[in-house]
Symmetry: C2
Subunit: 452 residues, 2 copies
Amino acid sequence: METKIVLKDSEIPKTWYNIVADMPNPPAPVLHPGTGKPITPDDLAPLFPMSLIEQEVASQRFIPIPGEVRKIYALWRPTPMYRAKRLETAIGTRSRIYYKYEGGSPAGSHKPNTSIPQAYYNKMAGRKRIATETGAGQWGSALALGASFFGLEAKVYMVKVSYRQKPYRRMLMEAYGAKVVPSPSEDTKSGRRILEGDPDSPGSLGIAISEAVEDAATREDTSYALGSVLNHVLLHQTVIGVECLEQMKIANDYPDVVIGCCGGGSNLAGIGFPFVRDRIAGSKKTRIVAVEPSSCPTLTKGVYAYDFGDTARLTPLLKMYTLGHDFVPAGIHAGGLRYHGESPLVSQLFHEGLIEAQAFQQTAVFGSALTFARAEGILPAPESSHAIHGAIVEAKKADEEGKEKAILFNLSGHGFFDLAAYDDYLSGRLTDYEHPESKIREALERLPKVSE
Amino acid sequence: METKIVLKDSEIPKTWYNIVADMPNPPAPVLHPGTGKPITPDDLAPLFPMSLIEQEVASQRFIPIPGEVRKIYALWRPTPMYRAKRLETAIGTRSRIYYKYEGGSPAGSHKPNTSIPQAYYNKMAGRKRIATETGAGQWGSALALGASFFGLEAKVYMVKVSYRQKPYRRMLMEAYGAKVVPSPSEDTKSGRRILEGDPDSPGSLGIAISEAVEDAATREDTSYALGSVLNHVLLHQTVIGVECLEQMKIANDYPDVVIGCCGGGSNLAGIGFPFVRDRIAGSKKTRIVAVEPSSCPTLTKGVYAYDFGDTARLTPLLKMYTLGHDFVPAGIHAGGLRYHGESPLVSQLFHEGLIEAQAFQQTAVFGSALTFARAEGILPAPESSHAIHGAIVEAKKADEEGKEKAILFNLSGHGFFDLAAYDDYLSGRLTDYEHPESKIREALERLPKVSE
């Protein structure tokens, strides 16, 4: 085959794939934090347009991608799928390694796959503004892009410590026309309350979520938007895997293993769910592997239980793998993977044995990232580099076992905004971190009590 | 047509286009700075492998692209050509605007089109090291990438003020394995001499060139490499325009105007020369437009004369448009366009009326850059934004004249490393600058005396 397989604009998928249609069991219900009863679409109406709520609870297998969204997808989609021949040579494997590259999107990651339809549905529902939170800024810039395309105002509550440390991400959002404030801010009650207690609060994702939710809930013209975890977000990301299925056909191959990094779950789900479908149908035995950082081992060391999506305990209760809603992961460079919980869909599939999980330390991950960059040219984001490392480990294991495997991973973003992390690695300043079991145990003791 | 036209790996051009074969007059000779006589290939042998010297003086129309280079090109080439429909709507034009996007290369610009073959030919010639200079870092990172692919050591002399101001570019080069030193450095005689006189020297491109040339000239295993200006560099960049010719056929269109930004000339030549060929042949009347910054108006306010390529007067004498080798352009954000001279080939074609030139101020350019980013999604590099502005001006002029034109421009790179410049623009801190005529006149009085 050629170095990469490209598809034409006309081959952008016409539907997203909804795994709920094929799961062995229906998704566990989402519970109202006050009543402990399953939430209804009406409960979510102040936050999301009804079209997105319908997708959140949809059970049909294929959901049409609106024409207007496909037109914007065409600015960078279909994305190329590469055969990583130069990487294979560099590590001396007999396995065939493929990667799907999502870093060519205008915002530099897979996130616009969902920010574009989210902005579209909000526009159709007559909303004028979208409020969201962002940590490192990857999601914030994708949403700013989506809002800009549809003439919506975007308000981004950016965790204050990131706002100060990552000015380039803030500037990118502003270049797209978004309003960005450091969180906690003076713009919301939640923010002001925190600032009264601690004017120098560095902020947290939990606080930023509270601010964005309050902003959306208190303004008629405004919705709230999320970049991962929820069903409709994962649904939009399946455009990645659906394209891969076509590209694998052209490559005349099929993966034995599909690998994605895993924080909130949209990255893994995006590339993996269409392959999980074949596995559930029994036509393939492909393993789907979630790779997470050892310092935030949600799937590998967490428990499967109802928990809050945020630290401030404002969200509905989700049945998911969790380290506890007030667990604070170490400050590793892959900021996008520092989440205490996990998408409920990924969690349930993991619980049922249809997805595997592995955890790695960041120095090993950065070592693999550089091997990749020097072989294939692309400088990967630290998050995506977890998938690269997982693929290299998989290939080496196959070599040891005398096997040849087809390995596909999701290279979800580039690392141009993460060069300080590479500098730390090259200068020997990068350290590994594993939380003591006791810290995780303590956080898990504070899980909400739910009678299922 | 579709939003973008993509080609397959197998459609990567098999030859570069050498415009020397079609120019109305042969290129003016390059002169030895000591003797004032035309230089010979042997004069250049200490600096470049003979295969590149042969390309520098070649006269055949098509020069084969080695298979190994085409394989590496396939990591990002062929690059997409877009129909900028969303931009057309945003500015309300009736013209058809197309752009070729080169920012998807691993280093983020068109520069790897020449760094890859340069590294390849050096490898084939048995060289172990390449020395080069870099200002803002765009070329340095492309060369670091090329060297990494062929297992060569890269030594980059980076202008000290940029080394301090643009750490991310330095880190990217190091991630690819290059050795980067701030110039002036202790590693060369030229550097030490400057440091003795001024330990705090901020450096300059002129000094960095001297260091890299000395490094290459004094080490048997080392070559020197340039990122623009020279004939072989422009030759390699024609892969851009050759692809565009194919993509225009698929779009069933042909440009009335082709636009590129212009500093050393490789950007404009890359997209423009294959179209100049059709114009010389008389089959088309396409206008080729070089866009330069008003603060470095080489083509629009310089003279066509023999001059040094560097400030330190070490290079051979080139017949080119120049503002004088010791002219210091204002510190605009488009660092890649701050060059006193111009490629001899572009200069000669401009002199003969086959290329036009326009100059714009940077605030207007950044305004157009943001219009583009919010319509098409891609955040453009400040250099490339000059071409965007030129295209928008061209479209508006056509609208005023009641005409419909097909306009093609080269979007040569992304602006992820230039967000501070966007921040300056959005905060109103960006200013325009035009040098007084007297400053240019003074610099031109110091041109070397050459009897032609």
